[in-house]
């Protein structure tokens, strides 16, 4: 219990410091939301000044930070300058779309990576292992954007999958089942792109930790007692290689909101990615701040979960 409380306090502290740092960084970067209006000859300087005042941009940075923290407490996370709605609701809609993409991708990624990594480790040095190593290095060295573009190219040429957006036009008139089906079809490309990007490093990590576990004296001893196959894998190799993998799983939890930014933009999936890019270009301060905080929140939660899992799994940590 004390362990949990300690970790929670630690997490809260991280969140607070990240919010301050991000706020300071945005503050220090040149330009602001209304700069575009200033160069427009049709709009007078006084109008711009009034707009700035209305949006609270004329107050001192400290005052603005405190105001922002207050709005966080109300669940608003400030007001978006471009959309004129609380950032909270805006982020939530977009985050939901992103999670619809990333959660299944991450789950499938681990579901493939665990057995594949273990299998590769147990059959280390065979031709299958060498082929995978080559393939995964190739995939690792491909930039995300290239993977996305390649998939788009294939989809366009074959016409099998829709190449952008989340729904077909006019989907509102359809029933619930048909809408879900339509969305799933639209999700195939970004999902595949995401999986191709996520999978190789995870498999590599699983393989590496499993190899380390297989070479550990405890596993060699278990083999010496004739323990083999499924029993050896599930009771010895997997638990012994779990520590680094649990930490990695925590990190991939953190990546849930950030891993797909680029792919969403390229494939025009209405998630956090496009919103973030828009807001950055427009200097929509509160949205950028909110999105960063959301990413940090996921990171902190992921790490917290990883720590708690480790605590539950490893008797040495407990005592």
């Amino acid at each position: 219990m004390r362990f949990v409380l300690g970790r929670l306090g630690h997490s809260a502290l991280v969140l607070l410091s990240v919010s301050m740092l991000t706020f300071a960084l945005i503050e220090l970067s040149p330009g602001e939301f209304f700069d575009d209006l200033k160069v427009d000859v049709k709009i007078g300087a006084s109008t711009v000044e009034t707009l700035r005042q209305q949006s609270g941009l004329t107050a001192s940075p400290v005052t603005r930070y405190v105001t922002w923290v207050g709005s966080v407490a109300r669940g608003e996370f400030g007001i978006s300058l471009a959309h004129r709605v609380p950032v909270g609701t805006l982020l939530w809609d977009r985050a939901r779309n992103t999670l619809l993409l990333t959660v299944p991708a991450t789950l499938v990624c681990w579901a493939i990576a665990l057995p594949l990594g273990l299998w590769l480790a147990r059959h280390r040095g065979r031709w299958t292992d060498r082929i995978f190593n080559t393939a995964s290095s190739t995939l690792l060295s491909l930039p995300d954007i290239l993977v996305a573009l390649l998939l788009l190219f294939v989809a366009l040429r074959t016409g099998l999958f829709p190449t952008g957006g989340m729904f077909s036009p006019g989907v509102e008139s359809l029933g619930a089942a048909a809408r879900i089906r339509d969305m799933a079809l639209h999700a195939v490309l970004p999902f595949s792109a995401l999986l191709i990007v996520l999978l190789p490093p995870v498999v590599r990590h699983v393989r590496a930790s499993a190899i380390e576990a297989i070479d550990a004296p405890a596993v060699r001893a278990a083999r010496g007692h004739g323990i083999s196959g499924w029993q050896l894998t599930t009771r010895y190799i997997l638990p012994l290689s779990a520590n680094p993998l649990i930490s990695l799983a925590g990190l991939s939890c953190a990546a849930l909101v950030s891993a797909s930014v680029l792919i969403e933009v390229v494939m025009s999936w209405p998630g956090l990615g496009p919103l973030l890019v828009e807001s950055l270009l427009a200097k929509d301060v509160h949205v950028v701040l909110g999105a960063s905080m959301l990413a940090t929140l996921f990171l902190v939660t992921g790490n917290l979960l990883a720590d708690l899992t480790l605590y539950a799994v490893d008797p040495r940590v407990r005592s």
């Binding site: 280390r124 040095g125 070479d215 550990a216 004296p217 405890a218 596993v219 060699r220 001893a221 278990a222 083999r223 010496g224 007692h225 004739g226 323990i227 083999s228 196959g229 029993q231 009771r235 010895y236 638990p239 012994l240 779990a242 799994v313 490893d314 008797p315 040495r316 005592s319």
Partner: protein
Amino acid sequence: MFIFEVEGLTVRYGASRGRRAVDGVSFALGSGEILGVSGPSGCGKSTMALALIGLLPADAEVSGTVRLRGRDLRACSERDRAAIRGADVGIIFQESALALSPLRPVGAQIVDVVNAHTACNRRAARERALQTMADVGLGDSLERIYESYPHELSGGQRQRVLIAQAIINRPAVVIADEPTASLDAAVRQDVLDLIRTLSVRQGTSFILISHSAEVLASTAHRVIEMRNGQVVATEARPHMAAPRPSAPASLTSRGPSIDIRGAAKVHAQRRLFSTRHFVKAVDGVDLRIERGRTLGLTGPSGCGKSTLARCLAGLDTLDAGEIRIDGRPMTGLRGRDRQIHRNQVQLIFQDSAAALNPRFTVHDAIIEPLVVQDAGTRGERHHRAIELLHQVGLPAESIDARPGELSGGERQRVAIARALATKPRVLILDEAFSGLDVETRQRIIALLQGIQATDGLSYLCISHDVDLLTELASEIAVMRDGRIVATPAAASLPSDFMVAVAGGSMKVPA
């Protein structure tokens, strides 16, 4: 007949194909034999151990043959080898802190070894694990140890867990790679005792790898020395008895070893003015002890236990009745025959310090019975003394010690060695454990049980301690006023009943 044969075993590693980690090693192992392997670190001992059971990494290049009961293990598939490992060939690794998974309770890890080889339900496997844990001396609070994680146990306990894993499926051969390297001296002695006991009791052969000459000298029957992957010397140990293959099988089948019928002994007390006063010390006692068995004898002081023991040992004669040993009547023997009788029955007393002449060395004390009989030459007697020391688990160096330099437990071991010198059929243990602390007592008991299992000795164990007798004896006779009043099987005994009988405070129906 060899159970395990190794011929020209050679191992080369991927990185250094030129250098041979193990270079043409050959040896053969008999049933129940303990083969020591010595040599400096890096000489290839451990690599050889792993090569024997096919546990080397894939990049190692192995050649030569390893045969278990004539079957070539190197020609087996990996699946077959996995079936052999842990079932026919057990292995004990050196670092108990590393050889167990830190994430699993040790009980589960012992059960895993059972499950890997036999389809066995959960409860049965657990029972078997607990039994084996008791066998390897994880005596107290078995359940707690069963549930413990390795880091919660001491080094000695972990090492015993490893031994339990290695022997739970009763393998014919156990490879022990430095099993005592990380243990302190007392625990080390226990573990070596355990290995010796297993080799005599279950006929398990051991390949005992150790860099310690002391460990090998006190335990191994034969030692091969390795250097740079090669066997450079084989030290046959001539003073060691050759291992007896599967000794215990035929021990109990040949009728009673001791058969006492209607034994009676009257002490006559002469008073000053000729009045005679008779005490019936032993009054019509019938007792049988099967070959290789232990009979417990208890009863209040003055009930006639010791008189009976003295008669059995030939130190006193019966007034009536007869004693047969291995079927031959021993009553009324004279001269040389009586001497032979005495050699067949030996007594071990409570106070071993008093029983040993303080001026005699251990060597002198042990060979004294042989000197008295004028048996063997000087050299033969010396060899016999070393052999006996080994049998009772004392290092050969202690041969020149005097009783004063030894601990109570060690003196009792010397007393046992001395009693065994004439190759007796029967040992009478007259309160032989009373002066010893619990731990030493357990070790001496284990030692005696090991000797009994190999040599088929019969024991008559006299004690007031009923718990001790229930542990040691299969049957217990209760004596009172010169008669046997009850002979219940030890297992069926309510212990408070026995305590009352032994203390003489309770009337027992005859």
